[in-house]
């Protein structure tokens, strides 16, 4: 006897909750603070271009906004650590997002699939290798930016502990890391999540947290299999 499969028409009707409310709120706070930090920070990296004039003389306002957004990001990071450690969804998703050897195989399959060598989509779980890299890039980047940012804000104290070359290094790292983060977001994240065929013009997942079962089946086949297994167990459980 063939095992139960959802009807093709149901693939578009059944909705899966991909992101919890807490995760979506964290994402929005990150997005807003990141945008403020970029807008109030990146112009300072190009002193030879007259970009700083975008502040229209309101430089102290820029400084305040940058620090405000920086503190927000730091608080968000602290909240995220608590979320990952002390909530069930947090612990579960962190377990799934942790990278493993499977990711290398998935990456190989993905490239083969993209090149048309195979029609079988790569067997991604809830988080594909790119999402994992992005997540840990954000974790690592935030740690660097928050640390160096506070060292720059309180440079009088920094220089009581460190020689000036450390402070110079901090400035350098803060600037290049910002550029790296900015480029990652505008070149990769925006394309991979919103602009690519299938998602264009934008994905709504970050707002409502929902994806269709079809999306799960096509883009996260392993998670779909898990869903199916859980669902079948539920069905059997219902029968007994």
């Amino acid at each position: 006897m063939a095992e139960w499969e959802p009807h093709d028409a149901d693939l578009d009707r059944i909705v899966i909750h991909r992101l919890t409310l807490a995760e979506r709120v964290q994402h929005i706070v990150l997005m807003v603070s990141f945008t403020i930090l970029i807008v109030t920070g990146i112009p300072l990296l190009f002193p030879e271009a007259p970009l700083v004039h975008v502040f229209g003389g309101a430089f102290p306002v820029r400084t305040f906004l940058h620090r405000f957004a920086g503190v927000t990001l730091a608080l968000l990071a602290a909240f995220h650590v608590i979320y990952v450690l002390f909530t069930e969804e947090g612990r579960r998703d962190f377990g799934w997002i942790a990278p493993g050897l499977q990711d290398l195989r998935d990456l190989k399959d993905y490239i083969r699939h993209q090149l048309g060598k195979t029609d079988e989509p790569p067997a991604f779980g809830k988080f594909n290798p790119f999402e994992k890299i992005e997540y840990f890039a954000v974790v690592w980047g935030s740690a660097i930016m928050v640390t160096t940012g506070f060292m720059m804000w309180f440079f009088e104290a920094t220089l009581r502990v460190f020689p000036k070359w450390v402070y110079d290094l901090v400035l350098l790292v803060h600037g290049y890391e910002a550029l790296l983060a900015f480029l990652s977001i505008i070149l990769w994240h925006l394309y991979n999540v919103h602009l690519k065929p299938g998602a264009f013009p934008f994905s709504r997942v970050w707002i409502d947290g929902k994806v269709t079962l079809r999306h799960l089946k096509e883009h996260h086949p392993n998670e779909y299999k898990n869903w199916l297994r859980r669902h079948r167990e539920g069905l059997t459980g219902g029968e007994s």
């Binding site: 700083v52 003389g57 430089f59 820029r62 048309g116 502990v161 000036k164 110079d168 480029l183 070149l187």
Partner: protein, 421 residues
Amino acid sequence: MRCGAVLLLLAGSLAGAPRLGAQESCAGCHGDRSLAAALVSDSARAARLFVDGATFRQTVHGALGFTCSTCHQGISDYPHGTVTPVDCAACHGDAGRELVGSVHGRAHPATGEVPARCADCHTSHEIFRSSDQRSTVNRRTQFQVCATCHGDAARMRRFGQEDSATVQTYLTSVHGRALLEKGLTIAPVCTDCHGQQGTGAHEIQETADPASPMNRAKVVETCARCHGGIKAEYDQSVHGAAFAAGNPDVPTCIGCHTEHAVQPVASPESSVYPTHIAQTCTACHDREDLNDRYGLPAARRRTYLGSFHGIALEAGQLTVANCESCHGSHRILPSSDSASSVHPANLQATCGSCHPGIGAGVAQGRVHIASVREDINLFAYGVQVLYYVLIAGIILFAASMIALDQYRHRVVDPRRGKRHG
């Protein structure tokens, strides 16, 4: 015409024309504006021929009871015949000798034109003491007399001076405004800087002349006539010490402050205002030849503008440190001098004047970072290279992944579609 004039002259004296000392006969013609105009066809000349008796009697010469012939000697009849030019030096011997030796008294070698004679500045008949406000050379109006020629481009060009605009900038300078707007008559006028102390205006020389108080060798001393305290500081500075030793490159007062256009330091137009000072200092300090000659570090302006101070200043925050905030102004010393505000031992205190509580670490490293490798260290350079690789990597990664995705959707999928169809 001339007969008519003589008749008029006689008629005028009979009718009691204005009395000009004992010179009623001169005033008969020269005291009548319309008569002078009738005598000569050239209206400008006619205007010069007219002498206002009432005003003359108030002038320094008129009040002393001078008559026309005191100065205009050898005129006894009409027509006058050849008139001997007035010789002011017959009485004013010192002034006459001083003028002859000055730039104004030396005839142009080619044209023979004399730049300025007594009357060009003092007028002919309306001469008052220079302390009298009615005098053309009184402090309050002296600039206008000098500018009559010095602001006249055609005239200045005849003497090989192309620039007739710079002197006009005096009017809006701190000195000009102090005099003209604030009424500070102690504010310097042309002759205070260009004339010799004591004798004033008559010995003015070109600034290229070593005798000029505005000559490079003397300009500091001249400014110090009023700004003595500043000179005392300047003399102790690296600039002042080199200047005293005859160095031709270091700035004097005008090197930083400009001359005619000098503005108060608080004015946004000042060459040493926060928004201009980096440009002013680096006019020398970013000159490769000077940096080579004196072993000075390069890229001072670029490294300042690239620092947080420079960026904030560019964005309009004027309170941030500029060149002067750290290096000082008149008593500026090299960082190797233990008395310098930027000597490593003093750096914490200097930075601390704006950033209270700043750590001693500020002295352990360079302030102007021109090159990460040379001005921070090799480790920081390694980090910089790593970031170059990462940034190039993210660009390459994103570009290749986007290309791959587009390939799948634009090339592979339609092909599959065909196969399936």
